[in-house]
Symmetry: C2
Subunit: 447 residues, 2 copies
């Protein structure tokens, strides 16, 4: 037995980049050539159990080093903290990080600095899950409502959601939770797939992948749109003819349009019965989304992967700007801010269908939706988690998709840990892959 | 004569920090101990004229190294660019920076990455002013309206302001511009001062500085509020009794409140006739500001120093959430985004009263307000630039305040350049000041 309580003794950061741009995986109207990347953080402790907390911010390549620098800037808030205290009440760390007034100036609560806080906070929740021996969704679903409410930062939310209202929602959510847990473990959580619809894929690949999606049991697919209207009309026609009238087809413009253009373009695609239009315009444009939603109904409006915090989600809901809330596990300030967003969505009665894909976003966000099902929303009706079949092999506890459903994870933690050999190989610029690649580029230039 | 066109050959960055927290200068309810800092950038060229472009992002201490890393990430977009092309049409650089999809993911258009773009873009405008031999306000005021409109990025704005409307505003703004330039050179631009009202100052210091502000010719002062209501009532009473009924007194809560608290607190201060309540809540809360404004009238609502881009300003104006638009020269994407915001404010008929202070914010933003007066708004009625008397001595072309007015700068450029000896002394952590200070701290700990 250790004579002193366990402490955080190291905050290791890694700049991890995958060369996804070479296959046009992940290509859309705004992001033609992403190199899916992670600013990755490992919290190490001196506890005898050897558990680590893993977390990351997701980026798409250049600038990942800035994201790593932002995580490094938080180190002083973590080193020497008691692991027991941290896991018993992670909100104490949140308050310190969000409340660091000098760092706050760099946001506030947005962009690089906020994503860094999210990475570190998520790493603490990963550690808390491992120490409790529970997958995160289950740790959350079995927590006392009073404790969960204490984890949430209600600052700037109380005109829409008070702690008392949140407590009522969570207490109500406990009714039938055990049956839902059993059902979740048996059937999993419904997924939809974006894999067929990347903008860089030709019609043959779209046809092949859309047919496979339906065969694999998915009841919703998604197509990227927004670069060229004639192409979009053709691709939507192809996809709809492959999947038939009953499988849902969402379309995603990745912020390409101004408000009026979004309305015009979405209406031009209406004949193919799109289920939702995702990110029709800037994620900052609350009033714009509200205007678009009024104009394009019954096509639903979805956004959230770039919504930077709970305050913007609050207003999207207050303004009636959304039919679908798309949380992202690694954009906002981590688990507690996503708890706030789930509770806001429940209060306003809007379903949550998370954004995922990238590096490890599926692994993380499944826990939040499963908690939402078991202990908040109480249903999976009209709810689906995005699924993209990229890069899962790099994770120690990768998502498992079966008949169009995410299988509930049972390993303790947040499923955030990448394989050590992947971390080593894809570290930028010194890892084996990049060292060889950059060397080849150099020789190519010299020749 | 140079045989090849001049190019950008270096992008030098500096982490500059001033130990302002030791005097409680700049203390407010949200920021108790800022160390005013700058992530500073110098663009060097191989032109024979020797001109450099200087720019910076303003931070308040910790994390300034992250801001510097973000500017470093932009270097590849600058090196080898033609100086003539860049100065003839700076918008080409803007489009490349804002349009870098991988870097865009880190915002989009917000936080650390967006401030880095602002620093670099402002440095280009500084260079353009020097090469034209004109102070920036004058370069802008004398530019062709068509050229100015081309500098603005209208993406996500066209539902509120089209390029055609902007052109009409700018053409209209030319009428009488020469007379206004003459008047500006003669009288300057009205200022207000925040120097008396920092939260860390006691009543004696408040009394003394408020009396001096009136004696110095200021017609508006500002008090920080929001930490303790009884203190605020006492301090407002003291200040109002010193300045009398005719000098305006603004109050500034620096985002401390939720919506309902903001309304309650502002009403409790109403007896002291505050002119505006500044940053009553989160800068992201457009609908919250609108609700507060409806409730606290006739007290005006002001915000902007933390508003991260033109899209949020657009909505604040669309929602009727503001009486006063507070641009900041170093928060958004530089001069062109501030042109968009000035034009939006003009379209909606809302006066612009910039945020300033910090490190060099007065030096920069005076140019934007002077351009606004000469060529857009056409008036200084109900318009004042914030003035704080900190750190000006570190600048080569510091602001000159005379009888409560900013004197129009006449030196070419954007007044952004810091003295080389200040850059050297306050570089963190290696500069002379910090090296000695950190050494002293180390010895203190060892003793």
């Amino acid at each position: 037995m250790s004579p002193t309580p366990a402490r955080i003794i190291a905050v290791d950061t890694h700049d991890i980049r995958f060369p996804t741009s070479r296959e046009l995986d992940g290509s859309d109207a705004m992001n033609p050539d992403p190199d899916y990347s992670a600013a990755y953080v490992v919290l190490r402790t001196d506890a005898a159990d050897g558990h680590e907390g893993h977390g990351f911010a997701f980026t798409i390549g250049r600038g990942n080093e800035v994201q790593v620098a932002a995580i490094d800037a938080l180190r002083g808030h973590l080193i020497d903290r008691s692991v027991d205290d941290l896991c018993a009440d992670p909100s104490t760390l949140n308050r310190d990080l969000i409340g660091d007034s000098q760092l706050r100036w760099l946001g506030p609560e947005k962009g690089v600095m906020h994503m860094a806080i999210g990475a570190v906070v998520n790493a603490v929740w990963d550690l808390a899950g491992k120490r409790a021996g529970l997958p995160l969704w289950r740790l959350l679903a079995e927590a006392e409502p009073e404790w969960l409410v204490r984890q949430v930062d209600f600052r700037y939310l109380t005109d829409a959601l008070t702690p008392e209202e949140a407590l009522t929602l969570l207490r109500h959510g406990r009714q039938g939770a055990e049956q839902r847990t059993a059902r979740l473990l048996e059937r999993g959580y419904p997924a939809y797939t974006t894999s067929p619809g990347w903008l860089g894929y030709d019609d043959d690949k779209l046809t092949r992948l859309a047919a496979r999606a339906v065969a694999d049991g998915f009841r919703q697919i998604k197509l990227k749109v927004g670069a060229d209207l004639d192409d979009d009309i053709r691709r939507c026609r192809v996809a709809r003819s492959v999947i038939g009238p009953d499988v849902r087809m969402a379309v995603d413009a990745n912020q390409r349009w101004d408000v009026e253009e979004a309305i015009r373009w979405t209406k031009a695609l209406a004949e193919f019965d799109p289920y939702w239009i995702e990110e029709p315009t800037s994620p900052d444009d609350i009033l714009g989304h509200a205007a678009i939603r009024r104009a394009v109904a019954p096509v639903k409006v979805a956004t959230g992967e770039h919504v930077h915090n709970r305050i913007v989600f609050k207003q999207l809901l207050q303004a009636g700007a959304l039919d679908v809330v798309q949380i992202d596990a690694a954009r906002v300030g981590g688990v507690p801010e996503n708890l706030a967003i789930l509770l806001l969505a429940a209060k306003f009665g809007v379903p949550v269908c998370p954004h995922a894909g990238g590096v490890g976003l599926c692994e993380l966000v499944q826990h939040l939706s499963m908690f939402d099902y078991v202990a908040v929303a109480g249903t999976t009706e009209d709810r689906v988690i995005e699924y993209v079949d990229h890069l899962h092999a790099h994770f120690l506890d990768p998502v498992v998709i079966s008949e169009g459903h995410y299988t509930a994870p049972t390993a303790p933690g947040f499923s955030a840990a990448m394989r050590p050999e992947s971390l080593a190989r894809y570290t930028y610029p010194g890892g084996e892959f990049w060292a060889a690649d950059l060397d080849k580029q150099k020789k190519g230039r010299a020749a």
